[in-house]
Amino acid sequence: MGLLDDVVSVPRRTMTLFFVIDTSGSMAGNKIGAVNDAVENVLPMLDEISASNPDAEIKVAALEFSSGCNWLYDEPKLASEFVWQDVTASGLTSLGAACQELNTKLSRNGFMQTPSGSFAPAIILLSDGGPTDDFYGGLSKLKANNWFKNAIKIAIAIGDDADKDVLTQFTGTNEAVFTVHNIDALKQIIQVVAVTSSQIGSKSSTAGDTTKQEQVIKDVTEATKDINGAQSEAAPVNSTDNYDDWD
């Protein structure tokens, strides 16, 4: 009799990647189309990262918020099994409600397993405007959440109208806020952020004592230099590409 007989099959650790997507009316048209396209295309890449990673498997969850908020599925799904359902844009920007909902699911009664056997989640927030509800009320609860405190948090500001102060409050630093000014940049940055967060977030060893969020920020900041129309909020670059063009 071996010691691992009758023991539950030892699972790989789990890292959950959250997409928190603004689907308010101002996102309608090319912006929401680009988000749908980019997320759908990045899922196979996340599956590859998960499949080739001995440390952890990657699960994906997606929350859309407009006049209220809604999870695409009622549990995180393996990247290999996540079928993207295109989201549509209309209504207001209930980011406060989204924060509250995220707080509810960032718990063992929600989407998370026991901390033993888990990696901190990665949360990618995409928004093109400012909240129309009680954002700070929602955020204050979320900020007390241990999973959120330890999460990799990256925000993508879609255009100049995005409230970057709010996104900075969400991520905890303006270094984690990346602004995009056109459709191609939006698609590319979603891919870069999702892939980088998954690669770093699902590894058990970190380089030195820098946090995983710091590592993701460093890599994404470097990558934005090669994306026309994308910039880090902490190190904005003056360029003719950095004006909004969403047509």
Partner: protein
């Protein structure tokens, strides 16, 4: 009392050429049983944590033996099981609990361990000065504890004497205890500050306030106690999976011998690291060999009832997935979103039945291990082990029908529907 102890390099440490930073020891000499275990921190600033963990284990063993020899054991007499949390801000504010003599003495022991460890690692640093490369890794040279930090590690200890027992813990990892009724628990309170890869540490400035502990002096003793570093609990996730692993060890001891179990642990921990957490692994166990055979059937019953609970949870999910599927008639039209949901429900049902069949096999195996006085009926329930009845197949969309419809709806001409 008998002992089992082993520590080994983790899979990720092998890959990066890092030494094993765990250390553990057990002693059962002179009627005093002691198990001590430590996990050195993995961050690059803790570059001497392998020395730190070995030092804290040796230092703690020495201090504990001194404590047991010199303490007036009557202070433990009649004490029921008592567990004390780490001194968090909340506990300082509440200040609800008055220290007993036992608390005072244990706190003295903890102080002497911290002082002893700091003295030993500072001596080590003097004898082995930091290299230029190592100095670059010290992030806060002004910190008076910057030397100690390079040796940072956790600490866990269990002590059993003829009059009383106690256990203490600082940092992550888990301590499990099995009692005479075959129940298991984690007797030392958890510290919520240990979360994901963050842990409290012997190198923290306020390490004394981070000790948490438990003790008992009324004659009740655990039958077995396991200490393990977080490499183990990160491999099992839920605590009941780890308890199940320990029961496998106890069964192995009872069915073979201590030596065989020791060898099996030495073979298994590296495998577990490879398929589990990838981290260093350490485990230290003390057990009462006389009591073990009496609790064995109870442990198997627990294993079986644990599997039964899992089957019940799977059954609930099967019913939910079946209810979802029953809404999908082959005669109706569905949107792509609805079909995706149906596909998930269909996949869930297939997967859940596979899982259920595996669990039922385990249930039946545990049943066969029970003494002849117990019920030996194989597992059975109303839901059964198979997916669909013919009638259900006719009434709901099949997996193939869902796939076909999704292919049609994915055609560009249906894009408006998505």
């Amino acid at each position: 009392m008998e002992k089992l102890v082993h520590f080994c390099q983790g899979e990720s440490h092998k890959a990066t050429g890092k030494v094993c930073q765990d250390y553990a020891m057990c002693s059962t000499d002179n009627g005093i049983a002691v198990a001590v275990l430590s996990d050195g921190h993995g961050g690059s600033r803790y570059f001497r944590s392998d020395v730190g963990s070995k030092t804290i284990v040796e230092c703690t063993f020495k201090k504990v033996m001194g404590f047991v020899e010199n303490i007036d054991s009557s202070i433990f007499e009649g004490k029921p099981f008592t567990a004390v949390s780490a001194l968090t801000t909340e506990r300082k504010e509440e200040n609800l609990r008055k220290n007993s003599k036992v608390d005072d003495q244990l706190n003295q022991l903890f102080k002497s361990i911290i002082f002893g460890w700091r003295t030993m690692v500072e001596q080590h640093a003097k004898e082995n000065p930091f290299t230029d490369e190592e100095l670059k890794l010290i992030t806060d040279p002004q910190d008076p504890h910057s030397i100690d930090k390079t040796y940072g590690c956790t600490l866990m200890c269990y002590v059993r004497t003829p009059m009383y027992w106690f256990a203490f813990h600082l940092g992550d990892g888990k301590c499990f205890s099995f009692d005479g009724d075959g129940n298991w628990n984690e007797p030392i309170p958890w510290d919520e500050r240990c979360f994901l890869n963050k842990t409290t540490s012997i190198c923290d400035t306020d390490a004394l306030s981070e000790f948490r502990y438990c003790y008992q002096g009324n004659g009740d003793y655990p039958v077995a106690v396991f200490l393990a570093s977080d490499g183990l609990d990160d491999s099992f996730g839920e605590s009941y999976n780890q308890a199940n692993f320990y029961i496998q060890i106890l069964k192995l001891i009872a069915n073979t011998s201590n030596n065989d179990a020791q060898k099996e642990i030495e073979d298994t921990l590296p495998q577990l690291s490879k398929i589990g957490s990838q981290d260093d692994m350490s485990v230290a166990c003390l057990y009462d060999e006389k009591e073990l055979e009496f609790i064995l059937p109870k442990l198997i019953l627990w294993q079986r009832s644990n599997v039964e609970k899992q089957i019940a949870a799977v059954n609930e999910k099967i019913l939910v997935a079946k209810a979802k599927m029953s809404k999908y008639s082959p005669l109706k039209f569905y949107t792509k979103k609805e079909l995706i949901e149906a596909q998930y429900a269909q996949t869930d049902i297939e997967r859940l039945f596979i899982s259920k069949r595996e669990l039922v096999t385990k249930y039946n195996r545990f049943t066969s291990e029970l003494p002849s006085t117990s019920s030996h009926a194989d597992y059975d329930d109303e839901i059964g082990l198979y997916e669909y009845k013919e009638e259900e197949k006719r009434q709901t969309l099949t997996a193939e029908q869902i796939r076909k419809r999704l292919r049609v709806l994915s055609h560009p001409m249906y894009k408006f529907d998505i």
